[in-house]
Symmetry: C2
Subunit: 337 residues, 2 copies
DNA sequence: TTGTAAGCGTTATCAG
DNA sequence: CTGATAACGCTTACAA
């Protein structure tokens, strides 16, 4: 009963194919296909036997062979700067959920905040998927040679695009709401911890300066400090800012991570939040609720961004360039103002 | 110069193939292949022309066609219960990083803590990838029909396996360290907020009871409460526990999320942490640092779990069932004890 | 019910 | 440098 070693059972290094199974089972490869896919039209006994042989041979259908014949499974590549930064998991979840509803698959890749890696991923992933979605920092011109013809949805890049689909975030409106709220509460000496970003105009800075101008607030360049985009960076920036401008009664942070760093620095410095200094973050991360008092923040629906990005793909995949989707953050007043 | 519509330029619904480009460019499909892949062996001028035609026709190589001929790109499917739960992003990052080092791709999918979905994903994803890695709650027997022959690494399931590769977590040792620490600090009335888990023995409960027995601590069943595995659940459980057993001076929580909920409940109840009641979490989430005082916890290197899972695949993919990898958590004393 | 033939889109081989 | 021709592993007709 045992075949001569290597003849019909174990093909050398090659993977086991339908034909290998067919040979071993003494049927045509077509019959094996029927058995594997339970296509009816097959004798139950034959099917049982074939399946048994397939199992013994550890046969696994090739996704490539299948995909060639019936290319149904859409796969999208998702590129984020960092999987661990609490901003992105929610976004990723939104994408995965929306994709799942369409029975699409999502390949996730991280640039680790490395712009060169971003381009490399765009190219390599682009070859393996039907479309790309990503937080991308480069300009259209820079992207072109790497993205080539791959459908791409760019998320929250501060620039418009003629070539790629976009999900935009109306940061200015959000920031305006946050600052307006501070002004309403009577704050005049307002500071900003900003961060450098690629492919983004200085929305927070511009909005603050503009608002200061409108309301005649005593805000000058020294009230704005540029720090590293992290909790530690936020802490350092807050200390510096506080030393330079002790009269500030409120600070807007680039995002919640930075704000949390600032919050902790304030505690270290003995600065009471919000009484001595109010604090407003940006992004609406749920971890902001862990502070005491919880962080007031300009909240962005990150999950929805992911959904919208996938929705953009619906059109992109049939060859149409959709109009940008725009999301507007909402002020979420918690306890630090 | 413009071709008759539909003849050589825009093929009906079909995707544009190498041959379409070849026809339009007046060369053989093989020449197009060379042009696309910059294989040398081609006249620069011809290449330029072909590439131009390809661009116009919006030609994109098929990953299936390619994969068939040179099946190099390994793709692994990663199944997690929840992308947003702060435990998993770190694990995912570990997997992605390790995979990236091997130039593998990672398809991420979420069961949303739904056991039926877990099985469905195992089957559907399994058909599209070379191997699976996942937090999986079912037994081997339950998995068998869904996983079939797909190489699978099961992470932190409390059961052994003869069939699948494992990354185990030595929870007992971790819990023992956490409880031992409490005992050392003189705590005798120790409570536990436990949670129900599938495919897992009650490690925390058993370890606490065992330790209580050894040290003669006054710990009985009423000191152990089973709550929902979430911050809210942790909060409710703490309140109930506190009401039932006000004499408890320390509580071990199922994990950090639960611990944080308990921490906040304590604050609401006016119970001082750690002076009136010490608190130990589990998992070592970085958000535990945001509490004031920061959360003492039994820390698990989640990123490393991801790396180890991928390492298991190295052997699994060449047909060998590797020995389980075991990871031991380490006590991380911060401020709540 | 089963087998045969053709084709999916690509790359590799080998002549020209 | 270029072009036939033959795989790759699978499924869908269609014939037996």
């Amino acid at each position: 009963m045992v075949e001569k070693n290597g003849t019909t059972s174990a093909p050398a290094g090659r993977r086991v194919t339908l034909r290998d199974v067919a040979r071993a089972a003494g049927v045509s490869h077509q019959t094996v296909s029927r058995a594997i896919n339970s296509k009816g039209e097959i004798d139950p006994e034959t099917q049982r036997r074939v399946l048994e042989v397939a199992r013994q041979l550890r046969y696994r259908p090739s996704r490539f062979g299948r995909g060639l014949v019936r290319p149904d499974v859409v796969t999208i590549g998702l590129i984020v700067p960092d999987v661990v930064n609490p901003f992105y998991p929610e976004f990723i979840a939104g994408v995965i959920e929306a994709a799942d509803g369409r029975e699409w698959q999502v390949v996730v890749a991280s640039t680790e905040n490395d712009r060169a890696r971003e381009l490399a991923l765009l190219r390599s992933l682009g070859q393996q998927v039907d479309a790309l979605v990503g937080y991308v920092s480069h300009t259209d011109a820079e992207l072109e040679p790497y993205v080539a013809g791959v459908p791409l949805v760019i998320v929250d890049r501060g620039l418009d695009s003629e070539t790629y689909a976009l999900v935009r975030v109306d940061t200015e409106t959000g920031v305006r709401a946050g600052l307006g709220h501070l002004v309403e509460r009577g704050h005049r000496h307002i500071g900003l911890i900003d961060c450098v970003t690629t492919g983004h105009p200085d929305v927070r800075r511009r909005t603050l300066l503009d608002l200061a101008h409108t309301h005649g607030l005593p805000v000058d360049e020294e009230c704005i400090i540029v720090g590293e985009q992290s909790m530690a960076g936020g802490g350092r920036a807050f200390e510096t800012l506080r030393a330079a401008r002790p009269e500030l009664t409120a600070v807007l942070a680039f995002n919640d991570l930075v704000a949390i760093g600032a919050f902790q620095a304030a505690r270290r410095l003995g600065v009471a939040v919000p009484t001595e200094c109010a604090l407003v973050g940006h992004d609406g991360l749920s971890i902001g609720e862990l502070l005491d008092p919880p962080l007031t923040t300009i909240h962005l629906d990150k999950r929805r961004i992911g959904e919208l990005a996938v929705r953009q793909l619906d059109q992109l995949l049939v060859g149409e360039l959709p109009r940008p989707e725009v999301l507007t953050p909402k002020l979420l007043v918690r306890g630090t103002t």
